[in-house]
C-alpha cells in the first residue's frame, strides 16, 4: 500500500496575535497536530504596548489544505487576523543572515569581494575571520552562503522570512 502525497504550493502568511504566554506553542502545535508543514516561522512584538505580535509563517500545502490552515489559525482565540500574502499579491520577503567565515590570504580577500557583490556588511572582523550581515530574499542568502563555503564558512545564523505587502494598505 502507498500513502499518496498531494501537490503543494508555498505560501507566506502574516498572523497578528495577542502577545500572551503560550501563543507560539498554540500556533506551532496546531500545525503539528493537523499535519501541516512549517518551513519558516518568525515572531516578535510589533506594538508600542507589548500587546500584539506579528508571526510570519512560510508553509507549503495544497490549495485545499491552505484554506484549512487559515481557518484553523483564525479559530484560535488569541489570533486577531491572518493574511495570506501569497494570495494577496505583491509583497516583499526578506531574511537576514549572519555568516561567519575564517581564512587567510587569498580566501580572505575573495570573501570580502563576494561580500561586496552581495552587499553584505562586515559586522565583526579578526585577523583570521569575518562576520558578514546579509539581507535579501531567501534565494540570495542561500547563494551567498553557498559561495562562502568555498572560502571558509564556519557558521550561519538566519532569521527566517519576514514579509509585508507592497503599497500603502496594511495587510
Amino acid at each position: 500500500m502507498h500513502i499518496k502525497e498531494e501537490q503543494r504550493e508555498r505560501h507566506t502568511l502574516a498572523v497578528i496575535v495577542d502577545n500572551e504566554p503560550g501563543i507560539l506553542a498554540r500556533i506551532a502545535g496546531m500545525f503539528t497536530a493537523r499535519g501541516y508543514n512549517i518551513e519558516s516561522l518568525t515572531v516578535t512584538d510589533i506594538s508600542a504596548d507589548d500587546l500584539v505580535s506579528r508571526i510570519t509563517i512560510v508553509t507549503t500545502a495544497s490549495p485545499h489544505v491552505m484554506e484549512q490552515i487559515i481557518a484553523q489559525l483564525e479559530r484560535l482565540v488569541p489570533v486577531h487576523k491572518v493574511t495570506d500574502l501569497t494570495v494577496l499579491g505583491e509583497h516583499v520577503e526578506r531574511e537576514l543572515a549572519l555568516v561567519k567565515v575564517a581564512g587567510k590570504g587569498e580566501h580572505r580577500i575573495e570573501a570580502l569581494r563576494l561580500a561586496d557583490v552581495y552587499r553584505a556588511r562586515v559586522v565583526d572582523a579578526t585577523i583570521e575571520s569575518f562576520v558578514f550581515e546579509v539581507t535579501g530574499g531567501s534565494e540570495k542568502i542561500d547563494k551567498f552562503v553557498e559561495l562562502m563555503r568555498e572560502v571558509g564558512l564556519i557558521e550561519v545564523a538566519r532569521t527566517g522570512i519576514v514579509a509585508i505587502a507592497r503599497g500603502k494598505e496594511a495587510a
Binding site: M1, H64, Q68, A71, E74, V77, H80
Partner: protein, 581 residues
C-alpha cells in the same frame, strides 16, 4: 472594594455566572477552593469517583440542560485524568469549563509533587485555556472562560489556578458583557446568502436536509424551526449521530440517521440528491464514506458557525457562516415572505419510498436468544411516553440505540460521537439526572464499556440519582469483534469480555437494584421492573452473542455500497481498507 481570596473570587464568579452544580474531586492543589465551597448555600458539588467521570458528567449535564458543565479537579493526575473528557467535549462541541488546581507559581517548572503542565497538555484539546498567575485577573478570566465555552461553536475551556493564587487576596467585581479583543463569533448570516439558499431550495427537485449537533447546540428553538422548514419545503430529513432528536423520528419526513450505520434510505437519498442542505454538521468521515463517491450529483450548502468545518472534507457550493438557529429563522421567514408554495417532490419521495422498502433495520429473530435490536425496541416501547433521556457508551449498543430508539425532542440523546469514548454513558447519565431531577434517564450500555467508569455507581448511590443502566451483554467488545469478522477472518484478537463480574451482585454491592434478563420472554417484565424501581437500577440483559450491527457502509466504501445483512460480509479486506478506521 474589599479584598477576597482567589478561591472566594472563583466561587463568587461561578455564582454570578449562574452555576449551580460542579462535578469534581478534591486534592492538594484545590484545597482552598474546596474550603470556599464547604457547605456552600448555592453551588452543589457532586463528588465523582474518578476525574474522567467528572468531565463526562459535566458533558451530560450540558447536553441535557443546554447550560455549561463545570468541573473542578486537582493538579497533576486530577488534570490528566480529565483530559479524555475534555477532548470528548471538544470533538462534540459541548460547553464546559474545567477548573484545575496547579502547584504554587513559585514551584511551576520544578517537577513539584503532583505537578503537570496542564495548559501544555490541554492546549490542543480545549477551545482555549488559561494559566492564571495574577489573582487580580482571576475573576475576569473565569467570566471570559464561560463566554468562550458557551458562545460560537461551544467547547471546553480549562482554567488552571496555582494554589498561591487561590490563597492570595485580590479585588473582584462582576464584569459587564464580555467584549473580547479577538474572539467575536458571527451569529447572523449575510441576508443575500440566505436568499440564495432559499433560491436553491425552491428550485431543487431532490433536496435533503442533513442536520447535526449544531442544531441541538443552537437551542430547542432551532429544532422547532427545523420542523417548520421541513414542513414548508417538504424535504426529507436525515441527521448525524450527534443531531438525533432535533427532528422527530415519528415524522413521515424522517429518514433516520445517515452514515456508516445509518439507514439505506438516508444514505441513498444523500447519494442521489440534487441539493444537500447541511445544518450544523461537519461531513465527518463516518457520514461521508468514500469522499470521491459522496453525493456526486448534488449542490451542497453548508451552514455552520465554525468556518474551519467548511470545505474541510467535502467542497461545498455555498458556505454560510452563522449560528444555525438564526439561519433557520431567516430561511423560514424569507420562504414565507416570498409566499413560496411547497415544492412538488412527489417523484423524489417515490424513489425514497422504494429505498425504504428494503426495510434495512429489520433483523432476524430467534426464539432462544434476545436480539439486541429487539431489546432496544422493547425499551423504547416501554419508555416513549415518559420522554426519557438516553445516554450510551460506545460500540454496537450505541449504534443499535441510534437506529432503533425513536428520538422526538432535542437534549434527550447523550452520546460520545466524535471521540467515541467508552465509559461516557454512566457519568453522562448522572450529569443529565442532576440537571433534570424528575426525568427518566437511561444509560444504554455494553458490558465492556460500562466497566470503564463503573465506579460511578457509587456517585449515583450517594446522591440518590435514580439512573437506569441497561447493559446489552453479549460478552464481546462487539464492534471490535464485528470488524474482526469483516476484516480479519474472524480472528477474535482480545475482543472477548473475559471474567465479567456478576452485574446483579455488583449492583447490589453498590446499593443499586440489579435485574437479569436472560430470555426473550423476560424482556418486557424485566424492563417494567426496572422502570418501577424508584432508585438506580442496573439491568444485565443477556443478548445474542454474535449479532452484528447492520446496515453498514464499510470503511472507504461509497453510500451506495451498503452491506445490509451479515451474509454480504466477505471476511477479508485489502490493505487500503485495513488502513482506514
Amino acid at each position: 472594594m474589599t479584598q477576597k481570596s482567589g478561591a472566594d473570587i472563583l466561587v463568587e464568579a461561578l455564582c454570578d455566572l449562574g452555576v449551580d452544580v460542579v462535578f469534581g474531586y478534591p486534592g492538594g492543589a484545590v484545597l482552598p477552593i474546596y474550603d470556599a465551597l464547604f457547605q456552600h448555600p448555592r453551588i452543589r458539588h457532586i463528588l465523582v469517583r474518578h476525574e474522567q467521570a467528572a468531565t463526562h458528567a459535566a458533558e451530560g449535564y450540558a447536553r441535557a440542560t443546554g447550560k455549561p458543565g463545570v468541573v473542578l479537579v486537582t493538579s497533576g493526575p486530577g488534570a490528566t485524568n480529565a483530559v479524555t473528557g475534555i477532548t470528548d467535549a471538544l470533538m462534540d462541541s459541548i460547553p464546559m469549563v474545567v477548573i484545575t488546581g496547579q502547584v504554587p507559581t513559585t514551584l511551576i517548572g520544578t517537577d513539584a509533587f503532583q505537578e503537570a503542565d496542564t495548559v501544555g497538555i490541554t492546549r490542543h484539546c480545549t477551545k482555549h485555556n488559561y494559566l492564571v498567575k495574577n489573582p487580580d485577573q482571576l475573576g475576569n478570566v473565569v467570566h471570559e472562560a464561560f463566554h468562550i465555552a458557551t458562545s460560537g461553536r461551544p467547547g471546553p475551556v480549562v482554567v488552571d489556578i496555582p494554589k498561591d493564587v487561590q490563597v492570595a487576596s485580590a479585588k473582584y467585581a462582576r464584569p459587564g458583557p464580555i467584549r473580547h479583543k479577538t474572539y467575536r463569533p458571527a451569529l447572523k448570516a449575510d441576508k443575500a446568502q440566505i436568499e440564495t439558499v432559499i433560491d436553491m431550495l425552491a428550485e431543487a427537485e431532490r433536496p435533503i436536509l442533513y442536520t447535526g449537533g449544531g442544531v441541538i447546540n443552537a437551542g430547542p428553538a432551532a429544532s422547532q424551526i427545523l420542523r417548520d422548514l421541513a414542513r414548508i419545503t417538504g424535504a426529507p430529513v436525515t441527521s448525524t449521530l450527534m443531531g438525533l432528536g432535533a427532528f422527530p423520528a415519528s415524522s413521515d419526513q424522517w429518514l433516520g440517521m445517515l452514515g456508516m450505520h445509518g439507514t439505506y434510505e438516508a444514505n441513498m437519498a444523500m447519494n442521489k440528491a440534487d441539493l444537500i442542505l447541511c445544518l450544523g454538521a461537519r461531513f465527518d468521515d463516518r457520514v461521508t464514506g468514500r469522499l470521491d463517491a459522496f453525493s456526486p450529483e448534488s449542490k451542497k450548502i453548508h451552514i455552520d458557525i465554525d468556518r474551519s468545518s467548511v470545505n474541510k472534507n467535502v467542497r461545498v457550493d455555498l458556505a454560510v457562516i452563522a449560528d444555525v438557529g438564526h439561519a433557520l429563522e431567516d430561511m423560514v421567514r424569507i420562504w414565507k415572505s416570498r409566499q413560496l408554495a411547497r415544492p412538488d417532490l412527489g417523484e423524489w419521495w417515490r424513489r425514497i419510498e422504494g429505498w425504504r422498502q428494503t426495510r434495512c433495520l429489520d433483523f432476524p429473530e430467534t426464539a432462544d436468544a434476545i436480539m439486541p435490536q429487539r431489546a432496544i425496541r422493547a425499551l423504547w416501547e416501554a419508555t416513549k411516553g415518559k420522554a426519557p433521556i438516553v445516554s450510551t457508551e460506545v460500540g454496537q449498543h450505541q449504534m443499535w440505540a441510534a437506529q432503533h430508539f425513536g428520538f422526538e425532542a432535542p437534549n434527550k440523546w447523550l452520546t460520545s460521537g466524535g471521540l467515541g469514548t467508552m465509559g461516557y454513558g454512566l457519568p453522562a447519565a448522572i450529569g443529565a439526572q442532576l440537571g433534570n431531577p424528575g426525568a427518566l434517564v437511561i444509560d444504554i450500555a455494553g458490558e465492556a464499556s460500562i466497566q470503564m467508569n463503573i465506579q460511578e455507581m457509587a456517585t449515583a448511590a450517594q446522591y440518590r440519582l435514580p439512573v437506569k443502566v441497561f447493559i446489552l451483554n453479549n460478552e464481546y467488545m462487539g464492534m471490535v469483534r464485528q470488524w474482526q469478522e469483516l476484516t480479519y477472518s474472524s480472528r477474535y484478537s482480545e475482543s472477548y469480555s473475559n471474567s465479567l463480574p456478576d452485574f446483579v451482585k455488583l449492583a447490589e454491592a453498590y446499593g443499586w437494584k440489579g435485574i437479569r434478563i436472560e430470555a426473550p420472554g423476560e424482556l418486557d417484565d424485566g424492563i417494567a421492573a426496572m422502570l418501577a424501581h424508584d432508585g438506580p437500577v442496573m439491568v444485565d440483559c443477556r443478548v445474542a452473542k454474535l449479532a452484528n450491527c447492520f446496515p453498514m457502509i464499510p470503511s472507504g466504501a461509497a453510500h451506495t455500497e451498503m452491506l445490509l445483512q451479515a451474509n454480504e460480509v466477505s471476511g477479508t479486506m485489502d490493505d487500503e481498507a485495513k488502513a482506514l478506521v
